[in-house]
Symmetry: C2
Subunit: 334 residues, 2 copies
Amino acid sequence: MKIDIKEVAKRAGVSIATVSRVFSNSDAVKPETKAKVLKISRQLNYVPNPIARSLSKQSTETIGVILPDLAGEFFMEIIHGIDEAAYKHNWFVIVSSSHSKRNILETLVEFMGSGRVDGVVLMAPQIDERMNEIIKKSRRPIVFINAGNELKDFVNVKIDNFNSAYNVVEHFIKKHKFNKIGFVEGPSNNFDAIERAKGYYKALADNKIKINGELVHSGEFTVESGYSGFKTLIQGKVKPEAIFFANDMMAVGAYQAAKEMNINIPADIAIAGFDDIILDQFLVPRLTTAHVPTLDLGSKAVTHLIDIIKKKKKKTLMEILPANLVVGGSCGCK
Amino acid sequence: MKIDIKEVAKRAGVSIATVSRVFSNSDAVKPETKAKVLKISRQLNYVPNPIARSLSKQSTETIGVILPDLAGEFFMEIIHGIDEAAYKHNWFVIVSSSHSKRNILETLVEFMGSGRVDGVVLMAPQIDERMNEIIKKSRRPIVFINAGNELKDFVNVKIDNFNSAYNVVEHFIKKHKFNKIGFVEGPSNNFDAIERAKGYYKALADNKIKINGELVHSGEFTVESGYSGFKTLIQGKVKPEAIFFANDMMAVGAYQAAKEMNINIPADIAIAGFDDIILDQFLVPRLTTAHVPTLDLGSKAVTHLIDIIKKKKKKTLMEILPANLVVGGSCGCK
DNA sequence: CTGAAAGCGCTTACAG
DNA sequence: CTGAAAGCGCTTACAG
């Protein structure tokens, strides 16, 4: 037996409009009537059909999430944050990651064109021309996570790469009195990597430490590039006292290289990274790094998105979350 | 300007029924008519509204996924597998994890009662009475991941804990000629842990190795319990040649303990785990373990679910995926 | 406080 | 091969 609003209305002796009002609990309904409807509903195990409601209200109370890839703990935590925030507001989340077969663009079009979601949280490593067009044309709000600075007219929640990197390097300088500090950069087209590099240079400059090209090596955010970056720097002309890796995965590569070369961290050389991935906790000594608050990234994005949808006012906002310094043993502390 | 089926129909000079047919591409439509509709649609950027379609067809082409918790790489990969499989079939995925505030039960009721999803993939650590009732009453199909054996009437995709654990232990016996093999168990109420323990005991028995209670220690699947389990066994009366940990996190604890105690793995003692978490790859030496195919777990579950929904036949099936042995250096190989 | 009725954007059996 | 019309299960402006 199918239980719909009609059935409940019939059994409660009221119209479907009244039943509807009871469940949207906005309009006034006489308490007795309400009680009766609720009682019948419970008996019948009735739950309003959200699909029908969505069609009628022209809103789904669902947000779409588009991530570049569903692998990796970083994205996992973002989804976690998103899910938590959405739940608080009683919203649903549809997740979609881009695979080889499906690109971000396609998913975005799908989400935007259809009435399936009321808004989208988008994390795209880079925004190209076509994507930009879709975004500009879009009627539904979009909140970005960790996008570049080019998106002036949107809400963008991101990490403070610059200052956080600055703080890591300054820790080396102020606390440990190092002045030969190596740096293994990230990919040159990566937004995060660029900001982190700027932080490194600025920290040196502010502390009157001359920048030495011998101490800087390019990397790719991979374990391997950290491994080779470490070896190169350590065998270079200028021997660094410390090396700052633009992300933790590269620092992991450094641990491997150090082990092979019988170099002790931090006695022989200090190390720091960026991200605070779970793996760090298992490194011996623990890696000194900047903690990226992934969970917050997700939950803030959702909260902003729902605000925009509900209030229907277009907001422009850049929220920058700090990545606080996490001091482990790899820098020489402890 | 709102673009709906009516608008497209008007501009293409056909009825909405025809437009609908073009997009459901089931019914025959004259090629020229179809081309015309498609052209107009493209111009207008028209995409059929899936909400309206769902209401009309009484099916959503969306599956709900309920996981005990959205944290941890294990679940991440499951979602990844689910998402991939769903995408292949052009279905959507709504994810929901249980938090402190929301339990699995509540989410299940929500999914089942409403017309929001056509079926559910459920991963629950244990199935209690109330949950069982909901499950039994449910009209929509449910596919379980890693549930116990009690669910005879459903599709259940799971890991072959028993045989995989057996293989790990047998590797110690056959390949390395060990006969003093320690074991750190998982939680006693955990289904996976129980099966893995059985595998350990059976491998010993089949190889005529006497079971020695001194060599078995209880653990909690945590790093800490692995740490203390390792210490206890290594300082026990019977010194083990090898220790099998019921999961990798506990083995990680063993690495830490070994380092502290200046014990070399595998020279002084061989180690093996179960799960093949990402962390393993960074352990030195790499951990020997059983690889749990999480991705497959997710994708198989979805594929079964969609099959059931589409064919509308109730299926009962227990699909058991092997967790193949991954040989690292921790057992003494290499 | 409540009901009749139009409407949300589709699908599909029926008729032609 | 195509169209008119009923229907999917709700919401909500309007009238009372």
